[in-house]
């Protein structure tokens, strides 16, 4: 199957898969992961799925879009797409992102510099489908043709016409979820063009105009969060009950009294975790409780819907949902009369609430919002907590969540903590704002329909996995236990899938976790190791 695609191929042969992933063509991994035959391979799309779902991109299906019933339905969607394109390009409908969108559409010089910055394109051994410029250029030509005056005629004359049909839009929909929105491409662009923004605008068009969005992000994501409080489905009484359970459990385990204040009016800090941490990585919220209490911080959690879950999947696909959730979070903080909000270890929460919402939360809703990184740095260096760094004497490397590091420039606080508390801390190459995404960014770590996880661990996360192995190459064997510090819930979800797929714990002794856990692990007052290497 073709790896070198022409842009015009994109709208042809509707039901046929456009390209494929061939494991032998992906960039090689270091041993013992170089033996393809020893890896689990991946699930193929079944005949039944091919019958029911749109499977016309690359052999993987993230979205399970049902096939349309008839030509009329196809036509209706294509018309809606054109109407959505027009809205994206109009001030009234898209005042938030119109300017950067226009700049990115107008200023691309087609130099292709960004392609070599994209971890997905590189991991695929340069399959055209994943070029940041491929998706963006399809979009740009459609805009030129359907939105600009005289566009249809010009498209015909210059032979760069991309036909707009059901095939084009259904493939574009899937392709808009083959990008981590990590913005490494934007960083490398000499003109400042942001192809990740274009991808995200496309997702927005599909969601806001056609009603197409990944179930995990919309129906089981933002909709559930606004309705019951959290995409996990946790209602207020359930989250309180769970945290109470953890407080008791960890009081027994650590010998230190763990307690969590709820809904305390006038507290200095409203801490908003991602609620998934409470369910799946409970050491993280517990570590925060231990640190805040030990440093004498006046803090609280909120049990009001959705104030106990800081995630905001709207960032990935939909402005309306983004705004609704961000506003609720700010209103809850205002009601509690807290001095500031601290965002937990969650990258997209940072970007949604610290950066994007700045244009939304004005007046008395503009409550100061602090990153977890500076918050933890201040705790660690406050002098109020005693540490013994020799308790963390194992190899540690740091993963930079794109939204916190590249996109917000918060680079050093977390490193100062690790240099202080982890004697064997080592950087990955490259790191900081040059980092590579974990492969789960852009909402992908929540998405696991059909065989999509196999694509995430084989392609999207491939370069990150390689980087991790290289960072630990001085002690590669499983007898030395190693820790990837990943201070972001979405990154942790991706690392869980990645490490499990490759068997990296068994083969290399590599595990992962957050930053707060490492800090607590080094506390003199915590007698037993806080980090549990083997899963309980």
């Amino acid at each position: 199957m073709k790896k070198n695609l022409k842009l015009t191929d994109f709208s042809k042969d509707g039901d046929t898969q456009l390209t494929e992933v061939n494991v032998d063509e992906l960039i090689p991994l270091p041993p013992p992961y170089d033996k393809v035959e020893e890896l689990p391979g991946w699930k193929r799309i079944t005949e039944d799925q091919k019958e029911r779902l749109v499977c016309n991109l690359n052999g993987f299906v993230a979205l399970s879009l049902p096939k349309p019933q008839n030509k009329e339905e196809e036509k209706r969607y294509v018309e809606q797409f054109v109407s959505g394109l027009k809205k994206l390009l109009s001030w009234e409908n898209n005042w938030t992102f119109l300017q950067p969108l226009l700049l990115s559409l107008d200023y691309c010089a087609q130099c292709q510099t960004c392609n070599d910055a994209c971890p997905i394109y590189l991991a695929s051994s340069k399959n055209d489908l994943y070029r940041p410029t491929f998706r963006a250029e399809v979009f740009r030509r459609l805009v030129n043709k359907y939105v600009k005056p005289g566009g249809k005629l010009r498209a015909k004359l210059n032979k760069r016409d991309i036909e707009l049909n059901w095939t084009t839009i259904s493939r574009l929909y899937e392709l808009s979820y083959r990008c981590n929105l990590c913005r490494r491409c934007a960083q490398s662009c000499p003109m400042g063009v942001d192809n990740a923004l274009i991808t995200r605008e496309l997702r927005k068009l599909f969601s806001q105009e056609l009603g197409w969005a990944p179930k995990e992000l919309h129906e089981k994501g933002t909709v559930l969060q606004l309705e019951v409080g959290s995409p996990t489905g946790m209602k207020p009484h359930v989250v309180k009950d769970n945290v109470e359970f953890l407080d008791e459990d960890f009081t027994d385990i650590t010998g230190v009294e763990v307690s969590t204040p709820w809904d305390r009016e006038g507290a200095d800090v409203l801490l908003i975790h991602s609620a998934g941490d409470i369910l799946s990585w409970p050491e993280s919220p517990v570590a925060f409780a231990i640190l805040c209490n030990a440093a004498g911080i006046s803090w609280t959690l909120s049990s009001e819907v959705p104030g106990y879950d800081g995630v905001n999947y709207g960032l990935f696909y939909d402005d309306v949902q983004l705004a609704k959730i961000a506003t609720k979070h700010a209103q809850i903080a205002k009601k509690l009369k807290v001095k500031k909000i601290v965002m937990g270890e969650c990258g997209h929460q940072h970007k949604a609430f610290m950066a994007v919402s700045d244009r939304l939360l004005t007046g008395d809703l503009n409550i100061p919002r602090e990153s977890v990184m500076t918050f933890l740095e201040n705790l660690a260096f406050s002098g109020k907590i005693k540490f013994d760094p020799s308790k963390n004497d194992f190899p540690v490397t740091l993963h930079d969540p794109c939204n916190i590091v590249r996109n917000l420039g918060i680079v050093e606080p977390q490193r100062r903590i690790l240099r202080y508390l982890c004697p064997q801390f080592r950087e990955m190459t490259p790191h900081g704002v040059e980092n590579y995404c974990c492969g789960g960014g852009g909402g992908l770590s929540m998405m696991s329909q059909t065989n999509f996880t196999d694509w995430k661990v084989n392609v999207a996360g491939r370069i990150k996995f390689k980087q991790i192995l290289e960072a630990f190459s001085d002690q590669p064997g499983p007898e030395v236990k190693k820790y990837i510090c990943a201070p972001c819930l979405n990154c942790k979800m991706q690392f869980r899938d990645l490490l499990a797929y490759y068997g990296a714990w068994e083969k290399s002794g590599i595990t992962y976790g957050g930053l707060a856990e490492l800090i607590v692990n080094a506390m003199v007052d915590i007698k037993k190791p806080f980090i549990e290497w083997e899963e309980y």
Partner: protein
């Protein structure tokens, strides 16, 4: 929506095979799911976990934390994986007929 035949009847399931109509669950469905994963007999330990998961779900609208499941049943994670080959979320929840856990978990 995908369909799956379990214990002689056809049910709506998601693309990961999780039952979509949790009220239609019965013990034969649990046995049928188990058989698909190579577990031919459900022991008392299996039922302890399945019933706890199911009751917790019906009461709270979500599955319990794994830590809680471990504490209440007394089975550690290793034991849970012995009982449920794909683990507590992908096997035990599925066999108990409750939806796949969602969100950042």
């Amino acid at each position: 929506m995908a369909q799956l035949e379990l214990a002689g009847n056809t049910y709506e399931v998601d693309d990961n095979g999780f039952l979509q109509e949790t009220e239609k669950w019965n013990e034969d469905i649990a046995k049928a799911y188990a058989a698909k994963e190579g577990v031919t007999e459900l022991t008392e330990d299996h039922w302890t976990a399945i019933n706890y998961l199911r009751n917790y779900y019906l009461e709270n609208g979500i599955c319990p934390m794994i830590r809680r499941l471990i504490k209440v049943t007394g089975f550690n994670l290793k034991r849970l994986y012995e009982l449920f080959p794909q683990g507590p979320a992908d096997s035990a929840c599925k066999w108990a007929g409750v939806p796949k856990p969602t969100g950042c978990i």
